[in-house]
C-alpha cells in the first residue's frame, strides 16, 4: 500500500494548520510557506500522475480497514489528472494573491490550502459519504475565500452562493441516505456492483437517489437551470479567488463523470446510463445560455463568469457523448478552459485597476496604462477561450466536434458548439476593442497605475500552461484517451478496490 496516494490530501491540510499556527508571523514568511506548499503539492501530484500513468489503480485503505468496510482513497488516471490541474492552478493563484490580496485578511493562505485539501480529497476518495465530507470542506473554504476582503456586493453574492450550496448539501445527504438504505454500502466500487444487482422492486428508489445526486453535481457544475449562483459570485469576488474558482465547476463535472461511469455506467443493469437522456440536452442548453450571457454582459468579470458557465456546458457535452473520443476531448478541454478562465479573471482585474472609476464596466473609459502588453495578453487569452486556431481552445473544440460526428445528436452538438464559438468571438472582440482601441482621451488616465511586472507573472504562467497544452497536444491527448478507456472499463477500478470478487 503506497502512502503516496494520501500525501496530496495531507500536505495542504498540514500546510493550512501550520499557517494557522504562525498567523502572527510576518506576511512574507506566510506567503513563502504557502507558495512552497503549493509547489510541493504540484510535485506530489506529478509523482502520482506518473505512478498511475501505466494504468495501475492505486488504492489506499485508511486505517488499513479493507473495502467496503473502511474508507478508501483511490488514485486512477482521472483523479491524478485533475489533481495535477488543481495543483498547477493553485500555485499561480497563491503567487498572484501574494501581490497584496492576501493582506486584506489574516487567513487567506489558510483558506487557500484547505480549499486545495478539499479538492484533492474530493478527487481521490472512493466513498460516496466521504465525497460529501470533502465537498463540505472545499465549500466551507470557498465561502471564506469568496467573502475575503468584504464589501456589500460581495456579501450579497456570497449569501446566495452559501444558501444555494447548503441546499445542495442537504439534497446530497438525502441521496446518499437513500442509497445506503436500499443497498447497504457507500463504497463506490461496491455500489457499482450492488446497483447492477438491484432487485426490481428497489429500482425506482435507486433511480430517484441517482437522479438526486445528479441534481447536486449539476448544481456544482453550474448546469442549466442551476447555474444562477455562479455569475454574481464569480464576478464580485477578488481576482485570485475567481481564478481558483475556475476549477470549482470542474469538481461537479468530475463527480458526474465518476459516478455515472462507475456506479450508473453501462454495466449497471436496469439502471445503466441513468442520466444519458438528460446530460446532453442540458449541457447544450447551458452552453447556449452561457454564450447569451457572454454577449449581454455589462462588466468584463461578469463576461468571464459567463464564459465559465459556457465552458461547463461544453465540457459536459463532451462527457455526454459517452465514448472514448468524447470523454478524451473533454479531459483535454478541461485544463485548457480552467487555465484560460483563470488567466482572464486575473487580466480583468489588472485592466480594471488601470481604468479608474469605470473599472471593468464595458464602457469607453480612460486610456489604459501598459495597454500594449495587457492588450496582447487579452488577445491571446481571448483567442484561446473562444476556440480560435492555433491555441488549445481550438484543439479541444475540434476534438469534441470530431468525436460528436458519430453521435445521434451530432447536428445539435455541432450547431450549438459552433454558434457558441461565434458568439464568444464576437463578444470578446467587442470587449477588446472597447477596452483598448477606443479610449476617451479627455478622461484623466489613472495617475499611478500599479506595477506591471508582478501582475504579469501569474497571467503569463497560466497562459503558458495553455500554450503547453497546444504544443504537447499529442501526448496530452493520448493520456486523455487512456484515461477515458480506463473510465469506460470500470472493472479495473472495482477489482483494485474490492480485490477478488
Amino acid at each position: 500500500m503506497s502512502h503516496l496516494v494520501i500525501l496530496p490530501v495531507l500536505l495542504p491540510l498540514f500546510a493550512g494548520i501550520l499557517l494557522l499556527a504562525v498567523r502572527h508571523a510576518a506576511l512574507p514568511l506566510r506567503r513563502a510557506l504557502s507558495v512552497t506548499a503549493m509547489l510541493a503539492q504540484l510535485a506530489l501530484a506529478l509523482l502520482l500522475f506518473i505512478r498511475v500513468s501505466g494504468g495501475e489503480v492505486l488504492v489506499y485503505a485508511l486505517g488499513d480497514w479493507p473495502a467496503p468496510f473502511g474508507i478508501v482513497l483511490v488514485a486512477d488516471r482521472l483523479a491524478a489528472w485533475l489533481l495535477l490541474i488543481t495543483a498547477a492552478l493553485a500555485f499561480w493563484v497563491a503567487l498572484d494573491a501574494a501581490r497584496g490580496e492576501d493582506a486584506r485578511g489574516r487567513h487567506f493562505h489558510v483558506l487557500l490550502q484547505w480549499q486545495v485539501f478539499g479538492l484533492a480529497g474530493a478527487f481521490l476518495t472512493g466513498d460516496l459519504f466521504n465525497l460529501f465530507v470533502f465537498f463540505e470542506i472545499l465549500l466551507l473554504a470557498s465561502y471564506g475565500l469568496m467573502l475575503h476582503g468584504g464589501g456589500a456586493w460581495r456579501t450579497r453574492a456570497g449569501l446566495h452562493y452559501v444558501v444555494v450550496n447548503l441546499l445542495g448539501s442537504t439534497l446530497f445527504l438525502f441521496a446518499v441516505g437513500t442509497l445506503y438504505g436500499v443497498l447497504g454500502t457507500l463504497n463506490m466500487a461496491d455500489l457499482a456492483q450492488k446497483v447492477a444487482a438491484t432487485p426490481a422492486e428497489n429500482v425506482p428508489l435507486v433511480r430517484a437517489a441517482g437522479l438526486m445526486l445528479f441534481g447536486v453535481f449539476a448544481l456544482k457544475a453550474a448546469l442549466l437551470p442551476l447555474y444562477l449562483w455562479l455569475p454574481a459570485a464569480y464576478a464580485h469576488t477578488s481576482a485570485p479567488v475567481a481564478a481558483l474558482f475556475a476549477i470549482m465547476t470542474k469538481v461537479g463535472a468530475y463527480a458526474i463523470l465518476r459516478v455515472y461511469s462507475l456506479i450508473f455506467g453501462p454495466g449497471a443493469g436496469p439502471l445503466a446510463d441513468l442520466i444519458e437522456p438528460w446530460l446532453m440536452p442540458l449541457a447544450l442548453a447551458t452552453l447556449a445560455l452561457g454564450m447569451f450571457g457572454v454577449l449581454a454582459s455589462r462588466r468584463l468579470k461578469q463576461q468571464v463568469a459567463y464564459l465559465v458557465v459556457a465552458s461547463a456546458g461544453t465540457l459536459l457535452a463532451a462527457f455526454a457523448l459517452n465514448s472514448v473520443e468524447g470523454i478524451a476531448a473533454g479531459l483535454y478541454y478541461l485544463p485548457h478552459t480552467t487555465f484560460a478562465a483563470a488567466a482572464l479573471f486575473l487580466l480583468a482585474e489588472a485592466i480594471a485597476r488601470r481604468r479608474g472609476e469605470v473599472a471593468d464596466r464595458l464602457e469607453t473609459g480612460p486610456k489604459i496604462a501598459h495597454a500594449r502588453v495587457l492588450g496582447g495578453l487579452f488577445f491571446v487569452a481571448a483567442v484561446a477561450s473562444a476556440g480560435l486556431p492555433p491555441l488549445s481552445g481550438f484543439v479541444g473544440k475540434f476534438l469534441l466536434l470530431r468525436a460528436a460526428l458519430e453521435h445521434p445528436a451530432a447536428a445539435w452538438v455541432l450547431g450549438v458548439v459552433l454558434a457558441g464559438g461565434l458568439a464568444g468571438v464576437i463578444a470578446l472582440a467587442r470587449s477588446g476593442s472597447l477596452l483598448f482601441y477606443r479610449p476617451v482621451h479627455a478622461l484623466e488616465a489613472v495617475a499611478a497605475p500599479p506595477a506591471l511586472a508582478a501582475s504579469l507573472v501569474p497571467i503569463a504562467g497560466l497562459l503558458l500552461l495553455g500554450l503547453g497544452l497546444t504544443v504537447w497536444a499529442d501526448p496530452v491527448l493520448r493520456a486523455a484517451q487512456a484515461t477515458a478507456t480506463q473510465l469506460l472499463q470500470p472493472y479495473e477500478y472495482i477489482h483494485a478496490v474490492l480485490g477478488e470478487h
Binding site: E136, Y143, L159, L166, L167, L173
Partner: protein, 109 residues
C-alpha cells in the same frame, strides 16, 4: 413508529423548503436548519428502526442495530451545525452591510 418518523421527516422537509424560499434571511436560515434536522433523522432511519439492540459485537446479543448510519449522522450533524453558525454570521453581516435583511439586499417591504 416508522409512519410517525416518516411523517416528522416529511413535515420538517416541507417547512424547511417553504421557509428557505422566503425573502428575508432569518426565515431562510431557519428553513436550512429544518432541512438539516430532516436529513439527519432521515439518515438515522436508513439503518432501519431497531429498539433495544446493541450496535457493537457482544456475546449476549440476539441481534444488532446498524452502527454506520449513526456515525454518518454524527458527521452530518457536526457539518450542518458549523454551516448554520456560518450562515447566521453571514446573514448578520449582510444585514449590517446592505442595510436590509432581504435576501437580495433590497429595501422596502
Amino acid at each position: 413508529m416508522e409512519a410517525l418518523l416518516a411523517l416528522i421527516i416529511g413535515v420538517l422537509t416541507a417547512c424547511g423548503v417553504y421557509l428557505a424560499l422566503r425573502r428575508r434571511t432569518f426565515p431562510v436560515v431557519l428553513g436550512l436548519t429544518f432541512l438539516s434536522y430532516a436529513v439527519n433523522l432521515f439518515l438515522f432511519a436508513m439503518g432501519r428502526l431497531v429498539v433495544g439492540r446493541p450496535p457493537v459485537l457482544s456475546a449476549t446479543a440476539t441481534g444488532y442495530t446498524d452502527p454506520l448510519p449513526q456515525a454518518l449522522v454524527l458527521t452530518a450533524i457536526v457539518i450542518s451545525f458549523a454551516m448554520t453558525a456560518f450562515v447566521i454570521m453571514l446573514a448578520l453581516k449582510a444585514r449590517a452591510e446592505l442595510g436590509s435583511d432581504h435576501v437580495d439586499g433590497e429595501g422596502g417591504r
